[in-house]
């Protein structure tokens, strides 16, 4: 037997054959799964699982939250609610500043002038 393959024919590559088989099975599996997740049965099942998880974990979450708030208050540290309230105030302040910025822009560039294209800024 010659070491060289005959012209026009490829040597048998077991790895390539395995890859082809793998790809074909993945493709078939992917099609089946895509169809499976697009069913009411899947939607119902995941809904039940999610509800169960949320219901089961709720007491632990609430207990953790309460104990955390108590611990922080005893240590004289701000709680999540304090930070949230502060963040809301900051956002309101930012909006006020943005309003002022808008007014300044209007003052700097009166509407009449702005209707004409400005000279573009260089990078």
């Amino acid at each position: 037997m010659s070491d060289k393959p005959e012209s026009g024919s490829k040597p048998f590559d077991p790895l390539e054959a395995w890859k082809n088989m793998r790809d074909a099975s993945l493709e078939a599996w992917a099609k089946t799964m895509t169809e499976a997740v697009n069913t009411d049965a899947y939607a119902r099942t995941t809904g039940v699982m999610l509800d169960t998880y949320l219901a089961a974990s709720a007491p632990f979450r609430e207990a953790l939250q309460k104990s955390m708030v108590q611990a922080l208050q005893q240590l004289g540290l701000p709680t999540r609610a304090d930070f949230e309230s502060l963040a809301e105030r900051m956002s309101n302040l930012e909006m006020r500043l943005d309003d002022m910025d808008a007014k300044l822009d209007q003052f700097a560039q009166p509407r009449a002038a702005r209707s004409k294209p400005k000279k573009a800024k260089s990078a």
Binding site: A30, D40, A55, D98
Partner: protein, 355 residues
């Protein structure tokens, strides 16, 4: 003896592949590299202006504002150097701006579409106008960003919006059989209030799971098999790593916005029914007057084409184009064919309307 001589080579090869695999899976690619500057901020939102590379006199007159989804980072628009929509557009002479919504914290759980559309967007647009010096502008909205831009275009048709580009826009939720997300979020099975009571916002991990579970085998197995098969091709590995970096970096969605998305849109289709109101104003897509291009990805499993078609018929714009393109929800803008098909088409359409 031959076997013993080959073995070390084989081992070295296997080691090298393992090193490449570990690097691809555990390190983050440098994405969103195009130079930009922050020109406006509000809460977590930032408005960026990309530094132009084309001289001012050769640039298109009308600036372009990009608005991406709320639950993913907008870095996909500027994925990696040489393969970035933003980079492509600035080289084509556009003055490009990007509205990055940022990652909402618990303090933002009350933020609604109303706030994003009628508080954040008008302010960002005002700043864009002040910086660019032009009253007209173009908007490109992708995915949930397309909901925001559609609502904005309908509610503020006199605000200078000249061109509106909607990419894979989930706007019509009437065809329940075709929309897998619609099935999952059916009110019989999915209780949005329970999730928000538990977490405040919609957690990023749950959003990521939802997106991947639409095509579980491709996302959880096929994706990694593809990487393994191409470990010896550095270009494919780098592209994979960049996409993996983006895909695994999701952000939560503000609770009240998520409630509107599910109840108002997925469950009740209020936008297309013409009954969706934001801050008391009804969103009527017939009021959209901007030139409109709707881009539909024919292989989109997240936003099937039926979700984007009806806005095209209903919008009041006189200049409309519906552009269908083969590819998936993300692939049409970030896949290997994007720079040859989608981006040039957007440039051609927008260029003619940006003088």
């Amino acid at each position: 003896m031959t076997g013993f001589q080959l073995a070390p080579e084989a081992i070295a090869q296997a080691e090298e592949r393992l090193r490449k695999l570990t690097r691809a899976l555990t390190t983050r690619a440098a994405i969103a590299q195009t130079p930009k500057q922050v020109i406006w901020t509000l809460n977590k939102a930032k408005l960026y202006r990309y530094l132009p590379v084309v001289p001012a006199e050769k640039r298109h007159r009308v600036p372009l504002l990009l608005v991406f989804a709320l639950m993913n980072r907008p870095d996909i628009l500027d994925l990696r150097p040489g393969h970035s929509f933003v980079e492509f557009m600035i080289h084509k002479g556009y003055d490009v701006y990007l509205l990055d919504w940022g990652s909402p914290g618990l303090e933002d759980r009350h933020l609604k579409f109303d706030d994003y559309t009628l508080e954040y967007m008008p302010r960002a647009v005002r700043k864009l106008k002040a910086v660019s010096g032009f009253e007209d502008f173009s908007l490109l909205g992708w995915c949930i960003g397309a909901i925001l831009t559609t609502a904005y275009a309908a509610l503020r048709p006199d605000d200078g919006l000249r061109n509106l580009i909607l990419l894979t826009a989930p706007l019509d939720f009437s065809n329940k059989d075709a929309i897998t997300f619609g099935k999952w979020t059916d009110s019989r099975y999915f209780d949005v209030e329970k999730i928000l009571a538990a977490f405040g916002n919609m957690p990023a991990e749950m959003i990521e799971y939802g997106a991947k579970a639409l095509r579980p085998v491709e996302n959880y197995i096929g994706n990694y098999v593809r990487l393994w098969d191409n470990l010896d091709n550095p270009q494919i590995v780098e592209a994979w790593r960049a996409m993996h970096t983006w895909v695994t970096d999701n952000i939560p969605m503000a609770g009240a916005t998520f409630r509107q998305l599910i109840v108002d849109l997925y469950q009740n289709n209020r936008l297309m029914e013409g009954t969706w109101t934001l801050r008391g104003e009804r969103v009527d897509v017939r009021r959209i007057r901007a030139n409109l291009m709707t881009v539909i990805a024919e292989g989109d499993h997240i936003t099937p084409s039926c979700q984007s078609e009806s806005v095209h018929q209903k919008a009041g714009s006189r200049d409309k184009e519906l552009y269908r393109i083969p590819g998936g929800h993300i692939g049409i803008m970030a896949g290997s064919g994007a720079s040859k098909q989608t981006w040039p088409h957007i440039d051609t359409w927008l260029g003619k309307r940006s003088a």
